[in-house]
Every structure is written in C-alpha cells, then in structure tokens.
Symmetry: C2
Subunit: 207 residues, 2 copies
DNA sequence: TAGATTGTTAATCGATTAACAATC
DNA sequence: TAGATTGTTAATCGATTAACAATC
C-alpha cells in the first residue's frame, strides 16, 4: 500500500477497469491476472498493478485478482457502493433521452428530480418523473440533499444553472453544455461535449 | 516551431482552446495574451505558449495572439476548416436528440445519414433525415465516402456496429455505448459514457 | 524608447515501465 | 515443490513550468 497522494489520472482509470471487470464477470471469469486485464485494456500490466497498489493489496501471487472481490473493492474506492440520487436540469431532447436511459439506475445513479423553465414541459411526466419548475430548483435539491446534478440546458443558460445547482448544495456536475463552467475549486465537473470529441479525432484523419 | 512528434495530450487541449477563443471573440476581444487565456482556462500561460509552439508562431511579442487568426490556425491544425459529413447509427432517444442538435452543423459536422434496425423507425423522418435500414450501412457509407460515425446503439450491438462502420470506410467513431470498442489501431475512437464520468466524480464526494 | 509578451531552453515534476524479490 | 503472478522499487520516459533572450 502506498500512502502518497493519489494521482487524479489513476482515479480516472478506475471506472474503466470496473467496466471491463464487469464484462469479464459476465463472461464467467472469476480470476484475472494483471496481464490478461491489461491485454483487454491495451495497457501494461505494471500500470494496473501500480494503480491498484495505491489502494491496497487485492491480488494473490501466482493466480491474480478475484474478479468479484476486485469489483467490490473498486466500487468502495470510487464511493459507488450505495445509491446516489441525481437531479437533471433541462428536459429538452437530451434531457428526455437521459431520463429514459436505464444505465444510470443500473449503476446506482437514481434520477429523482427533473427541472425545466419551459411551460410546455413543466408538469409533464417524462419517464418516471414529473418535470418541475426551475424556480423550485434550490429548494428541492436541499430538501432531498442531492449532491449530483446533470446539466442539459442550452449553452447560454449553463453557467447560471450550474451556479444554482451549487447553491442548492450540489457538489458534482455532469455538464452536457458546450461551455467551460467556472465554479469553486471543490466542485467536481465532468464535461461531455461531442463537438470537442469529434475535433480531437479529425486531427488524425487524412486531410 | 518544434518538429518533434506532437503529444496526444496537446491535441486534446486544442478544441478547448478553440472553444474559449470562440467565447472571447463573441465578447469582442480581438487580441489575447497567453496570460489572459490561461487565467480563463485555469492553466499556466507557459503551457499555452508551448502547446502552440508545436505548430508555429502565432503571437506577437508585446501584445499577444490575434484572436481570429489564432482560431483560424487552430481550425486548420485540427483539420476542421471544411465540412465533415457524419453518419449516425442507432436512432433511439439519444440518436433522436443528437439528430436534432444544431451544435454539430454549427461546428462543421453535418449529419447526412441515420440508420436503425427497427421497423418502427426505418423510413421515418427524424430532423432533416429519413432513417435508413441498417442493412444498407456499408453501401451508403462508401457511396458518400463518410469518414466519421456516431454510435448510439445499445451496448450489446455496439462492437458489431463499430466493425461495420469500419468496414464501410469510417475512420473515426464517437461512441456513446458504454463498452470499450476493440478496433484496428488506426481507427480513432472517443467514448462518451456518462456513468464513467459520474464515477470519476463520486470518488471526491463526502462518503 | 520602455514596457510587454512571445517562443524556447533547461530544470522540474510526475507518470509509466521494467525488473525482481516475495509469496501464493 | 515448480510455476506463476503479485506488490514495489528504481529507472525511464514524458509533460509541465520557470526563466529569459528576442522582439514587437
């Protein structure tokens, strides 16, 4: 076990390890060596062993890592060994799609609140939720002690809505708006901008 | 100018610089120093200057970088100074949302083909496109010489559909399915898995 | 010119990898 | 036991940053 500060990039890889272990478990694998896992992820076995060693000793010399046990450990490390309730702000096309997406619940993220500012949507049922008026945002977030928000509003509203999420007590924001949010440093943000992702690939395409 | 191989991580930052320059241009800024840009991005000015120096000399000592010129240069570097045609595979909720998203066209990515395998959707008009039967995928991709695909199918179909995109000549895939695709090394892949992004944040939340 | 900022070098910092003793 | 694989150290590799001469 290594007690130094854990590099952010190591944390970023853990969900990816977990996803692959999930797949392997479904394929019936019960033990996996760092070598086999590394081949699947196309990285070096040393990196996997080093990454895991920041958190403990999860393997057995001679055989490898018990798949289910390692998954459990990763879930504990990532703080996803319980249900997180999530609020969605912005119920346009993308908000609709995310509310209907079962992957969140399947992985322990339960969407429990949905907000919009448009009269046509407020009060409507979308998937399992009734869309609420954005004016109630902070109140409702506080009342349910929501710590995670998903932001699916147009770019021009995103910064203000992000700030409102934060003042409602939210500590982590999954941002689908194509802007860079400016928030206090203790607020976690992950941005999902498909245009930026496309632009990261075109560089490598033949001109 | 620096002629060594350019680190991938530098390429990854360029779309982000471009997005911020866009914002600044809209705010009326015509010249920006590495210091001002760095404050906006919350990185060091040295990193910006070093990153840009891989590609040329775009600034003026004493003043900084002309915003529009730098944007032009970045667009050329990223290979986005022309329209890219894009195909979408999978017209479920997310596919619908993306077809209706104007951000792609606004940034030079034109969705020109949409495919699904479900009779209820095939032949239907969604946004500006008529959804085609997936059986025609490779033919249509070849016919239109499409190089970029967006994958919005369920996880269990994603690997096969990715392979079909590749055999249709696609070289870059924006993958929304929550699996790791295994494709030839010359194929560009960017994955957008909201669950993984959430899991990268929960680590930092109070338990 | 004086002040400001670039482009670039060299130093620093941090992450990845190879190698191997420990051990299942 | 013999073979295999971990956890960890140390070496390597690569990226970031500070500093400054060049120059607008």
């Amino acid at each position: 076990m290594n007690n130094r500060n854990i590099p952010k990039i190591v944390i970023d890889r853990l969900p990816w390890y977990l996803q692959t272990l999930n797949q392997m478990a479904r394929e019936g694998l019960s033990i996996v060596s760092s070598l086999v896992l590394a081949e699947r992820l196309d990285i070096t076995p040393a990196q996997i062993r080093k990454d895991l060693s920041y958190f403990g000793e999860f393997g057995k010399q001679g055989s490898g890592y018990p798949v289910f046990h390692l998954m459990d450990e990763l879930q504990t490390i990532l703080n996803i060994n319980h249900i997180w309730q999530v609020a969605i702000v912005g119920v346009g096309g993308l908000g609709h799609a995310l509310l209907n997406y079962h992957g969140f619940a399947r992985h322990g993220f339960e969407t429990v609140l949905a907000f919009d500012n448009h009269p046509n949507v407020i009060g409507k049922q979308v998937a399992h939720l009734v869309v609420q008026d954005i004016t109630h945002l902070e109140d409702q977030l506080r009342k349910k002690a929501i710590k995670i928000g998903i932001l699916t509003v147009p770019a021009r509203q995103a910064q203000i809505m992000a700030e409102r999420l934060v003042s409602g007590g939210v500590l982590a924001i999954l941002n689908y708006a194509p802007i860079t949010l400016h928030l206090p440093p203790d607020i976690q943000v992950q941005s999902m901008d498909p245009v930026q992702s496309l632009q990261r690939m075109t560089y490598f395409l033949p001109r």
